[in-house]
C-alpha cells in the first residue's frame, strides 16, 4: 500500500486511486472543495502515484525513490505548478514571447515540448478560480487537445468562478470537510502540535487540514482570531453607536489576518507560509510540497510587503492608504471569522454543543445563544453571505462592515 498524504477524503481518494491505477486518466481533473481541505495535497498524491518509480504498483507512491523525493522537494521536471501571484493575486496568462514561470503561457510552452522523462506530466493549478479570464481562454486549447500522458489538475474552492467552457472540460472530484479527529491526528503526526492543542486547532479549522496546519505554525494568528471572536460576541450586547465605533479596530485586525503580518513561527511547516516573508509567491515549487497549501496558508503568502506591526497608525489613516483590493481582503478575512462565530451560535441555539468550532469560547457562546431571538444567527449568516458577496463585487468594504455590525443580532437582557 502506497503512502497517500490525503486525509479524511475517502471518496475523493478512492476516485483518484481508481483512475490512477487504470492508467487512462481524464485530460483535466477539477478538484473542488473548501480552501485548505487538501486539494493540492490530493493533486500531489496523484502526481506521486503516477511518477513513483517503485517496482510494485501497489507500493506507489513509495515516497522513497528518486522521483518521489524530487517531487517532495519541488524538483520534479514533469510537475508544473501554477499559483496566483502579483497584486491582484491572479494566475496570469504571461508574456507572449517570454512567459514568466507560473503563468499559463509558460505551461503551454512547456507542454509543447516532448516530455523530458518520458512518463506522465502533471500540471497543478492551485486556486484555479484565480486564473484570470484571458488566461482561462488560453488554457482552453490545452484542455481540448492536451499532449499525450498529460493531466491538468485544477483545484478550485469556488468553481462557479471558472468559465463554463473550462469547468465543463474537467472530471470533477469533490472534497468535503475532514473529520476533526483526522485533522488532530495529522497535526500530532507532523509534530505541529501536542494532542490537546491539536484537538482545539482541528475544531477551529472546521474540517480544513490546510488551515489547521497554518494555524499550528502561527500561534499569533490564533491569538488574534480569538481576540476577534470575543470582540464579536461582546458586540452582540452593545448598541449601534458602540458597534460602529468598533469598525476601525475590526478592520485593522482583518487587515492583519489578510496580509499576513503575523509571522509564521515554524519554518518548514506549511510550504507557502515559509515563503510568505519573501516577496516571491510566484515560486511554483514551494518548500514542503507535501503539505496542504491553499486556504489560509495561501492567503498569508500575499505579495504585499509585510509591515512591522509596531508601525501601525490609527485606523482611519491606515485605511486611507490601503488599496481597494487590500481593504476587501481585510473584510473577507473578518467575514470568515464572523461566519464561524455565527455558525457556532446557530448550532448552540439548537443544542449541538459537541459540534462547536470554538472550544475556548464554549460557555460564552452557549450563554449568548440563549439570549438571542430564535433564528437570529441563521438570519445573520444569510445576511453575511449576501454582504460578502456584494463586497467581492466591488461594494464599499467600509459600508459593508457597517451593515454587518448593525445586522449582528442583539442579545435581550437576560
Amino acid at each position: 500500500m502506497g503512502e497517500w498524504r490525503t486525509r479524511g477524503q475517502p471518496l475523493a481518494l478512492e476516485t483518484i486511486e481508481r483512475i490512477a491505477s487504470r492508467g487512462n486518466l481524464p485530460n483535466a481533473l477539477l478538484l473542488v472543495g473548501p480552501a485548505g481541505a487538501g486539494k493540492t495535497t490530493l493533486a500531489l498524491d496523484l502526481a506521486a502515484v503516477l511518477l513513483c518509480g517503485a517496482a510494485d504498483p501497489r507500493a506507489r507512491p513509495c515516497r522513497m525513490c528518486a522521483a518521489c523525493r524530487r517531487l517532495d522537494h519541488g524538483n520534479h521536471p514533469d510537475v508544473h505548478r501554477l499559483v496566483p501571484s502579483g497584486a491582484g493575486r491572479q494566475v496570469r496568462i504571461g508574456d507572449r514571447v517570454a512567459p514568466e514561470p507560473g503563468t499559463v503561457r509558460s505551461l503551454i510552452h512547456e507542454l509543447a515540448l516532448a516530455p523530458s522523462e518520458g512518463g506522465w506530466r502533471i500540471a497543478i493549478v492551485e486556486e484555479a478560480e484565480r486564473i484570470n479570464e484571458d488566461a482561462q481562454n488560453a488554457l482552453l486549447k490545452l484542455l481540448e487537445e492536451p499532449p499525450e500522458r498529460t493531466v491538468l489538475v485544477l483545484c478550485a474552492a469556488d468553481e462557479d468562478r471558472l468559465l463554463p467552457t473550462v469547468r465543463s472540460r474537467g472530471f470533477r472530484v469533490r472534497l468535503g470537510p475532514v473529520p476533526a479527529d483526522a485533522i488532530a491526528a495529522l497535526l500530532v503526526e507532523r509534530g505541529a502540535a501536542d494532542a490537546s492543542r491539536a484537538t482545539a486547532l482541528a475544531r477551529r479549522s472546521r474540517g480544513r487540514p490546510g488551515v489547521a496546519l497554518s494555524l499550528a505554525a502561527s500561534p499569533d494568528t490564533v491569538l488574534l482570531e480569538q481576540r476577534l471572536e470575543r470582540e464579536i460576541l461582546d458586540l452582540a450586547r452593545q448598541g449601534p453607536s458602540v458597534r460602529l465605533a468598533a469598525a476601525a479596530d475590526l478592520f485593522r485586525s482583518g487587515d492583519q489576518l489578510a496580509s499576513g503580518l503575523l509571522p509564521a513561527q515554524a519554518p518548514g511547516v506549511g510550504g507557502s507560509m515559509a515563503a510568505s516573508a519573501g516577496a516571491s509567491s510566484a515560486s511554483g515549487g514551494e518548500g514542503d510540497a507535501g503539505l496542504a497549501a491553499g486556504g489560509r496558508g495561501a492567503r498569508v503568502s500575499r505579495t504585499r510587503t509585510p509591515r512591522d506591526p509596531q508601525d501601525e497608525v490609527t485606523g482611519e489613516g491606515a485605511r486611507d492608504r490601503q488599496a481597494p483590493a487590500a481593504r476587501r481582503a481585510a473584510l473577507l478575512a473578518l467575514g470568515e471569522i464572523w461566519r464561524a462565530v455565527a455558525r457556532d451560535l446557530a448550532l448552540a441555539s439548537h443544542g449541538c454543543r459537541a459540534e462547536l468550532a470554538h472550544v475556548d469560547l464554549l460557555e460564552e457562546i452557549v450563554a449568548l445563544s440563549a439570549c438571542l431571538p430564535a433564528g437570529a444567527a441563521e438570519r445573520f449568516l444569510a445576511r453575511l453571505d449576501a454582504t460578502l458577496d456584494a463586497a467581492q463585487r466591488n461594494a464599499n468594504p467600509e459600508i459593508a462592515l457597517d451593515v454587518l455590525l448593525l445586522a449582528w443580532p442583539s442579545a435581550r437582557a437576560a
Binding site: 522537494h73 524538483n75 514571447v97 503561457r105
Partner: protein, 372 residues
Amino acid sequence: MKLSLMQENLARGLQVVGRAVSSRATLPVLSNVLLRTEDAGLKLTTTNLEIGITSWVPGKIDTDGALTVPARLFADIVNSLPPGERVDLETDGADSLRIRSGRFRAHIKGIDAEEFPAIPAAGERPTTRVSQKVLKAALGEVAFAAASDESRPILTGVLTRFAGDRMTLAAADNYRIAVKTIDIMDPVEERALVVPARSYTELARILADTDDPVDVVLAPAKNQVLFHVDGIDLITRLVDGQFPNYQQVLPAGHSTRAVVDREDLLKATRLSALIASSSANVVKLTVPPEGGSTVAVSANAEIGDNEGEIEATVEGEGTSIAFNARFLTEVLQNVDRDQLALEFNGALSPGVFRPVGDPDYVHVIMPVRTAS
C-alpha cells in the same frame, strides 16, 4: 568527491554551462550546476529543461562523487579566485562543497545530485556529423525566422529534416519562411524533428568557425537531440507535433527578378524604416521593367516620406511590392552572401529572396497589401 583543477579551466567550463541556467527557474535545483567526477576530470551540467549543456574540465580526482551547487554563486567565486592557481574541491557531507585555492577558502551549500533532472550523455555513436562552420552559418540564416510568439508552439521550433546525406533546416512564422539545406558527413535514414529555435541559437554560440565536425546524436527515445563538440555537449528537447508543410507555400515561378547588392538594399531599407516605423512599418520596393538598372526603396507615412535607389540587374516585368520593414531587414542582415536575387510575382504574391551563388537557401516573405 575530492579533486583539483586549474582555475582558468574551471572558469571557462562554468561560463559555457552558465548559458543554460535560468535566472527565474521553476525548480530550485535548476539554479544549480551539477558537478560529477568522470574519467579524468569534472563534468559540469546545467539545464533549464529545454536545453542542457555539459562541459568537461580536466582535473585530478582523488575520490569520485557528485553534487549540485548554485551555478551563479559558484561561477562568481571561481572567477574571483587568482588565475593560474589550483582549485581544490571537496564535498562536505551530502550537500555542501568546500572550495580552496591558495589562501582562499569558501564553503557553499548545494542540493543532492539525485535531485537533478536526468540528462543523457553523448555516449552513443553519433547519428551523423556536420561541419561546425557550415551548421553555424545555416543556423544563422534560418533560426531568426522562427516565431517568438507562443500561440503556435510548433512554429517556435526549426524543422530539422535528415534525408540521405543532406539536412534541411526550415523555420517559419505566419509571415515568412527560411529554408536551408546543407551536407552532412554520414548518411541518415529519413527523419524529421522540430528543435526549439532558442536551442539552436545557443548551439550556434557553441559552434566554432572550423571545418571540424559536430556530432549529432538522435536520442533513441526520440524526444531529445544531442550535439557534441570538443568537451561540450548540448542537448535539447524537441517540440512536439507536426511542422506545417511549408513547401506548398514556396512560389514555383516568378515574373520579375532583380539582382541587388545585399548591403546596399539593407542600407536603403534601414533608411526607409526610419520613416516607416512611425506608422505601419511598411517599405515599398519598386522594380522597373526589364532593362532598368535601379530598384527604388521607399516609405510613405504621415510623418513624411523617402525614396532611395540602388543598382540592380532586372529581368521580367516591372512591379511594386511592399513588405514589413522588420522582416526585410532581418533577412538582409542574416543572409551570408553579397548578392541577392529578389523574385516577385506581382504585388500580392510572396516575395522570394535567394542569395546568388547559394542554391540551397531560400527565404520567402508575405507582402503587405497597400492602399495605392
